[in-house]
């Protein structure tokens, strides 16, 4: 009798392995040509993903962070930790905004959702603006202002460091010049812009290389899974 849960868990693992393998093969079949098996797997993925995100969001955010704060004494069955806490009525504001957002589903009152949308956009724009300004602008400028010569290391490391720094500084300046369109790209300015294009091309090339590595990594993961599946059969 004690073996039953182990057998059940092994059976569940085998079934999930088969489902995963067959769905993987259905998706891969697109590489040959578009077909109903691929479409089925694709639609299944979209549906399951949407349901998963909605369910997780409901149970991990909406219940503990909203309902449990507004109605703690009614949470006995779903969120017992909150029972006994005082209600926090301030959370009526996000509740109302959330309901307004859902008004999009009702054409006649859809305009009400704009208020909630305005709140979301305003909050996101405000917080993102300050954070991007600090992290991606001010600090990045500061990070580019680096000494060309740093004493203390060996000759080879100092030369290497200085070369790296020059590449960064010249690369940044030339790339910025390329995006400056208020002056014709002629003469020395045009040559610097040309260097800027090369810097951008190098960056795009590196980015492409990384993308290839990422895709091959994912393919390796799927192939390892399929090999495991085949091994489980034989």
């Amino acid at each position: 009798m004690e073996d039953t849960p182990i057998l059940a868990s092994q059976l569940a693992e085998t079934i999930s392995l088969w489902i995963g393998a067959l769905l993987t093969l259905m998706i891969f079949s697109f590489l040959y040509k578009d077909n109903p098996a691929y479409k089925f797997a694709e639609h299944l993925f979209v549906g399951v993903s949407a349901a998963y995100w909605m369910t997780v969001g409901f149970w991990t955010t909406l219940i503990p962070n909203l309902m449990a704060r507004l109605f703690p004494s009614h949470m006995g069955r779903v969120f017992p930790v909150a029972v006994g806490n005082d209600p926090e009525y301030f959370y009526i504001v996000p509740l109302v905004l959330g309901i307004l957002l859902l008004m999009r589903l009702y054409t006649r009152l859809a305009w009400l959702s704009r208020w909630a949308m305005a709140f979301i956009i305003g909050f996101a724009a405000g917080t993102n603006f300050t954070r991007y300004l600090q992290s991606d602008f001010v600090t990045q400028i500061h990070s580019t202002m680096i000494p060309l010569y740093e004493p203390g290391g060996s000759v080879a490391s100092t030369v290497g460091q200085t070369f790296s720094t020059l590449v960064v500084v010249i690369g940044v300046i030339c790339a910025l010049i390329y995006f400056y369109f208020s002056k014709p790209h002629t003469g020395a300015f045009g040559k610097a812009a040309r260097v800027g294009i090369w810097v951008l091309m190098a960056a795009f090339g590196a980015s492409f290389g990384y993308t290839v590595m990422a895709r091959v990594s994912l393919l390796t993961g799927r192939m390892s899974f399929l090999i495991r599946w085949v091994q489980s059969i034989f």
Binding site: Y52, G57, V81, S143, A214, V216
Partner: protein, 292 residues
């Protein structure tokens, strides 16, 4: 009227190669090394060594916030990073706090707990040495909120147990109470947002790992705004190599990233080969057109 038969040149034939032949060759380049267990060891680069040293030099018992901002779709790249970080943190006696900005993240951290924590570190207890806090919605807004009040957002662990009942949650009021943030991500929100919304405004050391696609976006943050990071599978393999150098017992244990680097090398060689062939056929065709 009979059409004159034209001989197809070798470069024309290569130029018109069916894309499915390329897919097949790439698949073989990945499958064969996996079957023959071809692996490569990648020496740790400076950017990975810096992060490794940062974790290594923290005093035992340090509080490490690990964020799982990815899902099963990028697990082959991200999960080896999480495994390597967890092994390293527990070897050093650090405490791990697991959270997620992605709804799919908790499943990945649960897998990590089952495979690595329970499988390799039997003495580690939930709530004492590590805690699984799960996912919360809000993206960068969540990080913003955690920076000012951690427990207003996380009131329970993933199982719904009151957060105040765990000894390791004592003294955690906001993100500044963590000694380091290790963000493992594959997109938005992810490692970049941890730098922008926690590391920079809170002056909190941030490191982590990202998928290779995201890696070029994070290089500008190193070394001023990030301690270091693992760029894709190669970064994870480098961290595994650093871990092996310091803790030789991991030489005989599973190393998912290093194992996957073999197929990576062969697949890249095939791709480079096709790029060269593509350029060669283009140049030959151009030369032929010039002749006529």
């Amino acid at each position: 009227m009979e059409e004159e038969k034209r001989r197809v040149t070798w470069y024309e034939a290569l130029g018109a190669l069916d894309r499915r032949v390329i897919f097949l060759l790439i698949a073989l380049a990945v499958i064969i090394p996996l079957i023959v267990h071809y692996t490569t060891t990648i020496p740790p680069s400076e950017i990975v060594t810096d992060l490794f040293d940062a974790v290594e030099n923290l005093p035992p018992g340090s509080k490490v916030l690990m964020s799982f901002d990815y899902g099963p779709s990028t697990a082959p790249e991200n999960q080896p990073m999480a495994t390597a970080f967890t092994r390293h943190c527990f070897e050093k006696g650090h405490r791990i706090y697991m959270i997620a900005l992605w709804a799919t993240g908790p499943r990945q951290s649960q897998e990590l707990i089952e495979d690595v924590v329970e499988g390799e570190f039997e003495g580690k207890v939930h709530g004492e040495h590590y805690i699984h806090l799960g996912y919360k919605a809000g993206n960068q807004g969540l990080i913003n909120a955690l920076l000012s009040d951690f427990k207003s957002m996380y009131t329970t662990d993933l199982a719904g147990v009151d957060i105040e009942s765990f000894p390791m949650m004592e003294g955690i009021d906001d993100l500044r109470d963590f000694d380091i943030i290790l963000a493992i991500g594959s997109g938005f929100p992810g490692t970049k947002e941890w730098v922008q919304f926690a590391g920079d405004p809170g002056d909190i050391p941030v490191g982590g790992g990202t998928t290779a696609v995201m890696a070029p976006l994070l290089y500008p943050y190193y070394p001023k705004q990030m301690l270091g990071f693992l760029g894709g599978l190669q970064g994870a393999a480098e961290y595994e190599a650093a871990l092996m150098d310091h803790y030789p017992k991991y030489r005989d244990m599973s190393r998912a990233a290093s194992t996957s680097m073999g197929p990576q090398v062969t697949a890249h060689l095939v791709i480079v080969g096709f790029i060269l062939i593509g350029n060669l056929t283009y140049l030959m065709e151009k030369r032929k057109k010039r002749k006529f």
